[in-house]
């Protein structure tokens, strides 16, 4: 697949990225990616889009994920949409989203039809529990990887730690509504980043 891709381009971070060859390549890549995502697709998306295909840098992935998370809608679907749009406009957006949804939709409906027969089986229930534990680990491992990208954040590592820990405590431990957490901590973070960037000489809009 990598051999059919367009020439590499240099972006702001200096990391090399490669553009997908066509909307069909996007559709196929997102289908394969979605099929590997049990209990959540974010971990696989990071692995495939950043590390394997190199369509996005780690920073670009975080940017897209940030926007995907503050906007309504399923995060991974928004990530697919925005990644596809970046390369081929709306055709790419729908190719990526379609790839992410089409085959998994058929599979999940098949599982739903079969589920009632096997739900009580101890082996099946155990396998589901084991996969759930791994799915949690996949997301935590991805978070650890992306955390190292924060080293270049204009707010500085210490402030990033405070912000990230604040979100974790509010959402995971206190179980506060996400909307309020993002509204309060998000506007604090953006205001601080704004003042840091302006102090560093970035011109105002």
């Amino acid at each position: 697949m990598r051999s059919e891709t367009l020439p590499a381009s240099e972006n702001e971070g200096g990391e090399q990225t490669i553009a997908p060859a066509s909307p069909a390549a996007l559709f196929l890549a997102f289908t394969l990616l979605a099929l590997q995502g049990f209990g959540g697709v974010i971990a696989v998306a990071q692995r495939v889009l950043v590390e394997q295909r190199r369509w996005l840098t780690r920073d670009q992935f975080i940017e897209i994920l940030a926007l995907a998370q503050v906007l309504p809608g399923p995060n991974v679907c928004n990530v697919a949409l925005m990644t596809g749009d970046r390369f081929f406009g709306w055709r790419g957006a729908f190719a990526a989203l379609g790839g992410m949804m089409a085959l998994p939709l058929m599979i999940v409906l098949g599982v739903a039809a079969a589920y009632s027969q096997y739900a009580a089986d101890a082996v099946v229930a155990g396998a589901f529990r084991g996969m759930g534990a791994v799915a949690a680990g996949l997301i935590l491992g991805t978070a650890l990887k992306l955390a190292s990208a924060l080293g270049s954040n204009p707010m500085g590592v210490r402030v990033c730690w405070i912000g990230g820990t604040g979100v974790f405590i509010s959402v995971a431990l206190l179980r506060l509504p996400l909307v309020w957490v993002l509204l309060v901590l998000g506007s604090l973070g953006c205001a601080f980043a704004w003042s840091r960037l302006r102090a560093a000489g970035v011109a105002e809009d």
Binding site: V108, G132, A133, G137, L150, A172, L182, A191
Partner: protein, 174 residues
């Protein structure tokens, strides 16, 4: 299902789509209110099974909405509610991404990206924590921790890890 029910259901899901910040799962309590309590289209057990089925299947978790629609009204139900929950948020995401991409050098856009980045990472830690905590018992914590380490430090295939988890679970070791 009468046509008025289809309209009420899809209208409600179109609205919920715009409220689903953090994913469709965040509006699941309101879907429960409408589909189980008010319209009695599915039972309580069917509702929780829908979420479990989607999590154990490959693909985005939003597919739990399709499973609920399927249990209420077959394939047509799945297609209608899934389209309704996706359409408004998808349109908004596309417009917002283009707006931001065209203005990516603006101070405010760069401040948004920098300010949100640590929160995104914190949110991923929170999601992993909540998923791990939703499993009964504590034997699985070691499996979760080892998986996190392997994902962080190695390039081991993710499907291999999922398969290992399924096997350990099937033999009753976690």
């Amino acid at each position: 299902m009468p046509i008025t029910d289809w309209l009420i259901l899809s209208g409600h899901f179109l609205l919920l789509s715009l409220l689903s910040i953090g994913g469709a799962i965040t509006v699941a309590p309101d879907m429960h209110r409408v589909m189980v309590d008010e319209m009695a289209l599915i039972t309580d057990a069917q509702f929780s099974a829908s979420i479990a089925i989607a999590q154990a299947s490959p693909g985005p978790n939003v597919l739990f909405v399709a499973v609920m629609g399927y249990q209420a009204a077959g394939i047509a139900g799945a297609v209608v509610v899934l389209t309704a929950i996706m359409l408004p948020s998808t349109t908004l995401a596309l417009l917002a991404a283009r707006w931001g991409q065209a203005r990516r050098h603006w101070l405010s856009v760069r401040a948004f990206k920098a300010g949100m980045a640590p929160l995104v990472v914190g949110l991923l830690f929170a999601t992993g924590w909540i998923l791990a905590a939703s499993i009964d018992g504590w034997h699985h914590v070691l499996l979760t921790a080892v998986t996190a380490l392997l994902v962080w430090r190695t390039r081991m295939h993710l499907l291999f890890l999922i398969g290992a988890g399924a096997l350990l679970g099937a033999f009753g070791w976690v």
